[in-house]
């Protein structure tokens, strides 16, 4: 019997949802396990970094890396896995675009450390002790990875062959990707393994989207009883559908929640936040500066709303610290 292709999974700055989504393959995971050998998956199986180091270069057919890159440990593992795998797949929004951890690029590293180890109301750390790179304990030195100033997408650190979008990617997308990998039918390198149309294209409420939006005000989901059948944007709910790639099956809209943009933009758009900003703003009814300002109070955090998963991948990348 010929040797089965080897694959690995790894996580960086992420919540663990992407790891869950692999298990969400349900019984299909048995087909995957039958077809490939999983040789590295720290969250589920007992492999060590040294096992990876011992592999010859390109020993793995593919490695699925989720999470953004924030620490030197994540950076080092990403570089190592790049060497050991023929194909690197950025798995999920954080590896693809920076994801929720990427929102930390709107504050500085020092602000994070001061808050988390000092000012956070739940803290009991009167001396504001912060983690150090090296500490001595019981006569031994313990080293911690460095916490970078900037959160990065995976492809800002290593070269990436494919992207599986989503927070997390859906089981169908993962199954399709594994099938394409095994059958050698992967698209050109650099592709996002999802359709290249906007979410509105597969939205069940598509028919109710007016040609011209006339938005008097914006509402956050908890401020309004949301009609289950009507286009969310037409109801004044900021929905990122027009600037977001399809492929999820409009799951959030199905749950009566607006799209928050986790699949990132289509290939025609460079900067997802700027694009949805443009679409949302031009749909407003107001024509005078003062009225526009009043309506915009309904969007108190434009950067967080429009770049919820994509600050590190945006054109500006992070807040400038003056």
């Amino acid at each position: 019997m010929p040797e089965k292709p080897k694959v690995g999974f790894y996580w960086c700055a992420s919540c663990g949802g992407c790891e869950e989504s692999v298990v969400d393959l349900a019984e299909q995971i048995l087909d995957v396990v039958a077809a490939v050998d999983i040789v590295f998956w720290p969250v589920a199986m007992d492999f060590k970094k040294s096992d990876v180091e011992a592999m010859p270069d390109n020993a793995m057919a593919a490695v699925f890396i989720n999470g953004a890159i924030r620490t030197t440990e994540q950076e080092e593992m990403a570089r190592l896995l790049r060497k050991k795998s023929a194909v690197v797949v950025a798995y999920g929004s954080c590896a693809h675009l920076g994801g929720i951890p990427g929102l930390a690029n709107l504050v500085t590293r020092q602000e994070i450390l001061s808050f988390v180890y000092g000012d956070a109301p739940s803290n009991q750390n009167a001396e504001h002790i912060q983690p150090q790179r090296t500490i001595g304990t019981n006569g031994a030195a313990v080293h911690l990875p460095a916490f970078h100033e900037t959160v990065r997408t995976l492809d800002q650190v290593i070269s990436v062959d494919y992207y599986l979008p989503g927070c997390p990617p859906t089981p169908k997308l993962l199954a399709d990707a594994v099938t394409a990998l095994l059958s050698g039918t992967l698209p050109p390198k650099g592709s996002v393994l999802a359709p290249d149309t906007a979410l509105c294209d597969e939205c069940p409420r598509k028919e109710s989207k007016p040609n011209d939006l006339v938005l008097e005000a914006f509402h956050r989901p908890h401020q309004k009883e949301v009609d289950r059948d009507l286009c969310l944007l037409a109801q004044g709910i900021v929905c990122l559908g027009p600037a977001t790639r399809s492929g999820c099956g409009a799951l959030c809209v199905d749950g009566n929640m607006a799209c928050t943009g986790c699949f990132g933009p289509t290939s025609h758009v460079r900067d997802q936040g700027a694009k949805i900003l443009s679409a949302v703003a031009s749909g407003m009814a107001a024509r005078e500066s003062d009225a526009i300002k009043v309506a915009l109070e309904g969007i108190p955090d434009p950067a967080g709303s429009f770049y919820r998963y994509s600050v590190p991948a945006s054109l500006l990348r992070k807040r400038i610290d003056h």
Binding site: R287, K318, I320, D321
Partner: protein, 169 residues
């Protein structure tokens, strides 16, 4: 830790990317030219058919590629050649201004002006004012900042490269 602020080179001059609509502001800039009005040479003018054609991505990209300021000029409200273009611009740019502030870009670096075809003098005033404001603010220098931010990746990249070399030796 505050990042090091880019220090202007002695020869530094503010760079403004100016998107002017074909029907009003670009014509006004043309008028300023034929009227031999002198203004600061710091604006690179890009003619677009309508201020409404200016995608917010263009403005972010101008900053990301080294502009110190971006100026957007269109027809006065009610005068748009395409009826609604400048209203859309106004809405988008009000929202964009809020977002730029969240990214730490000072408000004087982005300016929206309505300048009609007859207001050549206004083109001169706006470009001169903006140039002076940017001179006070100093360079935005995003390309240099991006390179500075990425220096934190160098130690590990270098360490791995030298291990690699040692392994091959």
């Amino acid at each position: 830790m505050n990042e090091q602020q880019p220090q202007p080179a002695p020869s530094w001059e503010p760079r403004i990317v100016a998107f002017f609509c074909n029907w009003c502001t670009y014509t006004a800039a043309d008028l300023a030219g034929v009227s031999r009005l002198r203004h600061a040479p710091n604006a690179r003018i890009i003619r677009v058919m309508c201020s409404g054609r200016v995608d917010p991505q263009f403005i972010l990209e101008a900053f990301a590629r080294g502009a110190d300021g971006v100026l957007l000029g269109g027809c006065h409200p009610g005068d748009c050649h395409y009826m609604e273009g400048n209203y859309k611009t106004l809405r988008r740019m009000e929202l964009l201004k809020r977002m730029l502030a969240q990214f730490g870009i000072e408000e004087q670096r982005f300016r929206l002006e309505w300048i009609s075809a007859s207001e050549g003098e206004r083109v001169k005033t706006v470009i001169n004012e903006m140039t002076e404001q940017l001179r006070t603010l100093g360079p935005l220098a995003l390309p240099r900042r991006f390179a500075d931010w990425d220096k934190e990746l160098e130690p590990l990249a270098h360490a791995l490269a030298s291990t690699e070399e040692a392994a091959h030796a």
